[in-house]
Every structure is written in C-alpha cells, then in structure tokens.
C-alpha cells in the first residue's frame, strides 16, 4: 500500500514536471518567433533554395557580395532538400497560408504557371526590359510568363542529353547516333560483340515518377509528336505518340537493349550503372558529366555526349528543365527581394555559378564568353541542345496532368495495358482537367 502511494506521488510529480517543461518550451518558442519577427522588420531577406551540389560556398560568396553592394542589407539562406516533390509540397502549403517567412525562392520550371495562377508570385515584368529578355533562351522565359506577365526569372537551364561510351562505339566503328534506329543497331551490335552479361544497351528513367515523363516527352518529340499542342489540345492519340511509346517498349521487350529494371530506374541508379562501365547509352541530365570526368571515375575520358535521337530528318528536342528565381507575393520587402533576384540572375553571377558549380546559364551571350569556353567547354557544347528545348505542358494544372501521364505511361511500358487504350484514357482524363482550368481562369479574369 505504501509503495503504491509513493508511486502515485511520483507520477504526479512527473506530470507536473512535464507540464512545466512544456510551458517553458512554449515560452522559449514564443521568444524565438518574437526575435525572428524583429529581425524581419529591418532589412533582412530570406532566400530559400534547395541543396544544389557543390554550390554551398558560391551561394555564401554571392550573398556576401550582395550585402557589400547594399550596406545594411542581410540575406539569410534557408535550404530545402533536393527532392522536388518535397519542395513543391513545402512551397504549396506555406504559400497557401500566406506565409511571409521567405522573400526570394527557387522554383522548378514546371511550377511557374501553377504558382502564378494561385497568385503567389510577384510580377517581375519590370525587372527585365524587353531588350534584355532577348538574351534569354526563349523556352524557359516563355514558361515563366503567365498571361503576358513575367513571374519568375530563369536562373539556370537544363535539358536531357544522350551519353554514350566513346571507346565502345569506336571499337565497333560507329559514330555518335543521331536516329532511333542507329541507337538500336549500335546497342545490339555492341552487346552481341562484348558478350558481357552485365552490360546494358540503353538506359533511361522509366519509374513511375516525374523523370519518366521527361524521357517519354523527349522520345515523343523525336517522333514529331506533342502531348499538348500550342492551343492546349491533347494530342496523345496521334500516331507519333503511339510510335514513340512502341519504340520505348520495343527497347525493353523486342530488341532487349534496355533491361527490365529501367521500369524502376531514376536518374541516380542509371547514372551509377553508366559510371561503373555497365552501360553503352544513357539518357540523363547534364549534371552527370562532372561525375563521369572525376579522377576516380571508371569511365573517365571514355564518354561522349550527343543530343537526344530522333527520326531521320526530324530534330529531337530535349525536355526543358531548370530553376527560376521568384519573389514571394506575401513578402514585406519586395523591393529588396527584386533587387536580389536581379543580382543573382545577372550575367556576372550566372557566369560565376557556371564556372564554379557547372550550372547552365540562361543568358545566351554567356556561351560566347572566353572564360567559360576554356573552363567549361562541355557547357558551351550544349548550346545547340539548349537552344531547342521542349517544355512539358505549360499549364497551372501540370501536377495533375503529370500524375495521369505517369500512371498511363507506366502501364504501357510495363506491358499491362495496350498503348491505344492507355492513351485514350489519359486523353479523356487530361481533357477533364483542362476543362476545369478554363472555368477557373475565366473566374480569375473576372476578378
């Protein structure tokens, strides 16, 4: 009995202590946010961006320089994980609640229409005069415009490329492939000649996720097709799209140049396979190049890069990727934020990031820069690919459209749904989504 009482007393004390602790924690949180608010009042702006590989030092340098040019101004970095879905979710939830916790942020090229329609981005049209806009690659600039206004400034651009094993191609007397048919023939010949069970012919991203849409989008454009045409009509049931999916499927099931595991492959595991010398052709983004050229890379000096293949007579257009600088419309320091965007997107900063981090500048004149030409010949060599990119559907409803396409394309590539049936179902679902878009933009026009 006595022991029980003791336990009871102890339990009460414990609860009391926990409550006290909770209260004091609450208090200190309040203090913290109070401090934050105070700091926000003066001239500190918050720059939110994801963790860009090898860029830590450059970001700090750039910020120090901006602070020096603008005495009294402080820029605080806040870093998000590099997973794009996580970033999208973060921005949507915090902007939805009107958060002013950050002023400048980096957004993926596919988000601009959605964020602009939602009214979360500050109009940046006056930041770039008409004359200056001509410097930029047209595709990302167009993706950053919504209803004639510029809502984000392209900061760096990305586009899919085809990596190939120069040494293997030379050994069999081939040059870099230009057409789909050449990719198949070269891969088959080399696979047959090398007799290595662990060698893959052609790797691409085929997992059910955004990266797969990028691959398929490119192949479709190489066949001359479109997912949406310029007047936003769904063109999925065109013969070009059907042929593109047939070709990708045949790579797996008929010619067996793509292993079955491409169906769960993303950027990283395909990059690793190529890096370890187990792959002849790889579709991926330009970031892989620096990994392939490192001192300890098994394929150092054996890698070539070419544009995405196409049908003879057509030019394959790579899927447009890249990141944009935008200003939060709920920010209380928009003028400072705009100044920072102007600074970061300037030729000088873009050149510096290109030289040190390897990002691809969005201003075309930089590709003539002597310093860049000598230090980063690879980036300069991408110019023809970057000039002619193929954006994914530019609409505020892209996230929904992408989900529909991911499911249907994945069903086709895993061979569990006939191509025509899947494309028809995708078309009907996307048309439903686009109908909603029309209604909504009509409402927002009225406002």
């Amino acid at each position: 009995m006595k022991i029980r009482k003791k336990i009871e007393v102890f339990a009460f004390r414990l609860i009391f202590v926990i409550l006290l602790l909770g209260l004091s924690l609450q208090q200190s949180c309040d203090n913290y946010s109070g401090q934050k608010r105070k700091v926000q009042k003066d001239s500190t702006i918050v720059f939110k961006h994801f963790k860009l590989a090898n860029a830590r030092e450059q970001f700090q340098k750039a910020i120090a320089e901006f602070e020096k040019e603008n005495p009294g101004v402080h820029v605080r970095e806040e870093i998000l994980p590099s997973n794009t879905n996580v970033q999208h979710q973060f921005y949507v939830t915090s902007l939805e609640s009107g958060s002013a916790d950050f002023d400048v942020f980096l957004i993926d090229v596919i988000w601009t229409p959605e964020f602009s329609l939602a009214g979360w981005l500050e109009d940046l049209s006056d930041l770039l005069p008409e004359e200056e806009r001509k410097q930029f690659f047209p595709a990302p600039l167009k993706a950053d415009m919504y209803k004639g206004k510029l809502f984000a400034v392209p900061w760096y651009i990305d586009a899919g490329v085809l990596y190939y094993r120069k040494d293997l191609l030379t050994k069999y007397g081939f040059s870099a492939p230009q057409t789909f048919e050449q990719v198949v023939r070269q891969a088959q010949t080399i696979l047959k000649g090398e007799k290595r069970a662990d060698l893959n012919g052609f790797l691409w991203q085929g997992k059910q996720y955004e990266g797969m849409i990028c691959t398929v989008n490119e192949i479709i454009s190489g066949f001359g097709g479109h997912i949406l045409d310029d007047s936003n009509r769904v063109r999925l049931e065109d013969i070009e799209v059907i042929n593109a999916l047939k070709w990708l499927k045949s790579c797996i099931y008929d010619w067996r140049i793509s292993p079955r595991w491409v169906l769960s492959a993303d950027e990283e595991n395909t990059r690793l396979s190529f890096l370890n010398g187990k792959t002849i052709f790889l579709r991926n983004w330009p970031y892989c190049w620096s990994f392939f050229q490192r001192e300890d890379s098994p394929v150092k000096g054996k890698v070539g890069v070419t544009r995405i293949p196409s049908l003879p007579g057509k030019t394959g257009r790579s899927t447009l990727g890249g990141w944009q600088l935008a200003v939060n419309r709920f920010s209380s320091k928009k003028e400072l934020a705009k100044k920072f965007v102007k600074f970061m997107s300037s030729s000088k900063m873009q050149l510096r990031f290109a030289l040190t981090v390897g990002t691809k500048p969005t201003r075309r004149p930089l590709y003539q820069n002597v310093e860049l030409r000598t230090a980063q010949p690879f980036i300069v060599s991408l110019l023809p690919v970057l000039e002619n990119t193929n954006p994914r559907p530019v609409t505020p409803f892209y996230p929904q459209i992408s989900q529909i396409l991911q499911i249907e394309f994945s069903a086709v590539l895993s061979d569990i749904r006939p191509i025509k049936k899947a494309l028809r179902s995708a078309r009907l679902q996307i048309e439903h989504v686009l109908k909603l878009e029309k209604e909504i933009s009509a409402i927002s026009d009225d406002k």
Partner: protein
C-alpha cells in the same frame, strides 16, 4: 453523486478525444462534401458528388483492391509466422534467449529506414536477393522485383511481413505464457500428442490474443503508406497504389482537398466496418469462454 465525480474525472479525456478525433473527422467529412482546391481559390459545396464520383473512380477501385489484397495476404502470414515463432520462443531450446533478443529488431527499426534497406535488397543490379537466387541457380536473369508488375506487390508484402511478424510473435508469446502448465501435463497423461495438445489446448486458449493482434495488424495493413511510398511510390502502372497513397497524392501532390478528404472518409468507413466485425467476433468468443 458518483456519476458526477466520474464525469468530472473523465472530462479531460473526453475533451481530448473530441479535439483530436471527432473534430478532424467531422471536418474531413465537411471537406469531403466540397470541391476545394485552395491553390486556385475554389471552394464550393457540391453535396455528395465527390462520393458519387468515388463509386465509379477506377483509380479508387484499384487502390481499394490493392489494399485488400495486401491485407488479406500479409495479415494471415504475419499471424501464422508469429505463432510459429512464439511457439519456438516458448520451447526451452538452446539459443532461446538469443532468439528472444534478436526477434524484435525488425519491429524496432523505423519503417522508412527498413524500406530503404529492402529497396537495396531488391535492387536489380546490386541487390543481394538477385545475387543469392542467381548464385544458387534458381533464376538465370536478374528480376526487377519492384519494377515488375507481377512481383512488386509481393515484394512489398514480404518487406511488411518481415517487419511486423515480431510484433505478432511477441504478443502471442505473452498469450502463451498465460496457459497453465497443468493443462499440458494432464493432456500428456491422457496420451495426447503434441499436435492434439496444440489444436485442443494452445490454439483455443490463445485465440483471443491472436484476434486482438489480428485487429491491430488489419487496421495497420489497411492504411499501409510508408512502405509503398518508399519502395514503389505506387508504381509500376499504379498497381501498388494503396488507398492511403492515393489519398496522399490527391491531398498533397495535387491539392484536391475535397476529393482527397472523400477518399480518406471512405477509407475510414471501410476500416471501421472491418474492425467492428472483428470486435463482434471477439465479443462472441469471450462470451463463449465465459
């Protein structure tokens, strides 16, 4: 008087339940009756249209079917394996202590971590599973466990069974401890073999515990999210998309709060129905025992 005091003491608990359970549930139901996409400023009352759409939404039906398949295969597997391991733990065999200590490891690892681990085990190029199967000559070509529509769900089920069998084993083991040893002794004297002793003494007496573990596991399995999200993200071709993953994608990737809530409410109803069936069974069983 007593009743008043009782109410007084119960008040904090009731308040807490209202705040964290009833309010969100009610709010979810309200959202389910609306077309709400806050990103685009759409918020309108649409009555039952979300639920009517749900009835003919092929994606929802597929996710429901996937979830049921997952539950119906994984839970019985976990219960029977858990039973076997619990029986092993009860026997006084050498290494028994080590077994008891190590058996809990899978359950102790956070699911996301163990999912990443399984992702590597299943990896078609470097995975240990393909290596072992190829080495022992069972398969000649690597299988893409998570990318192959015929294998993906089974691969997820295996990972789940690995993780949760220890939970079942531990609870059933606790149940086994409560069976008096005299019962076995007298059965032995009557000449009952070990199978008879298992089916006539152990199983009936431990059954209520198995049922309770079954409830826990069924509810967990019906709302399976983390393993699927990490291992396949619902692919390939959406055949591993469970109801929770679908609801998550609707709510947080495409921000359709209305329809996403309708899916969540449907999930809640299904789980509630199934668990009440269990509780009814349990109730009957205990009455029979009493």
């Amino acid at each position: 008087m007593l009743k008043k005091t009782l109410l007084f003491f119960l008040f904090p608990a009731i308040l807490l339940i209202c705040l964290v359970t009833l309010f969100p549930l009610g709010y979810g139901l309200v959202l389910g009756l609306m077309r709400k996409m806050p990103v685009f400023g759409i918020s309108e009352f649409t009555g039952l249209s979300n639920f009517l759409f749900l009835l003919k939404d092929p994606r929802f039906q597929q996710s429901l079917w996937t979830t049921l398949k997952f539950t119906l295969i994984s839970v019985p597997l976990e219960l029977s394996l858990g039973m076997l391991i619990a029986l092993l733990m009860k026997e006084k065999i050498p290494g028994n202590m080590l077994l008891k200590l190590t058996i809990m490891i899978p359950w102790a690892i956070p699911t996301v971590v163990s999912a990443r681990m399984w992702e590597w085990i299943y990896n078609p190029e470097y995975g240990v599973l393909n290596y072992l199967l190829k080495y022992s000559g069972i398969i000649s070509e690597s299988v893409n466990w998570l990318g192959n529509p015929h294998w993906a769900l089974s691969a997820i089920i295996i990972a789940d069974v690995w993780k949760t069998t220890p939970f079942a084993a531990l609870l059933i083991y606790a149940g086994l401890q409560t069976i008096p040893a005299e019962l076995y002794d007298s059965a032995k004297i009557d000449g009952a073999g070990s199978f008879r002793r298992f089916f006539y003494i152990t199983l009936p007496l431990v059954f209520p515990i198995v049922l309770i573990v079954g409830i826990f596991r069924t509810m967990d399995a019906l709302r399976i999210f983390d393993l699927v999200y990490v291992l396949t993200g619902g692919g390939p071709a959406n055949i591993t998309e469970t109801m929770s993953v679908y609801a998550y994608k609707l709510l947080f990737q495409t921000m359709q709060f209305g329809y996403g809530s309708a899916v969540s409410i449907a999930m809640f109803v299904i789980v509630a129905l199934l668990s009440s069936a269990y509780i009814y069974l349990l109730h009957k069983k205990f009455q029979l025992l009493a």
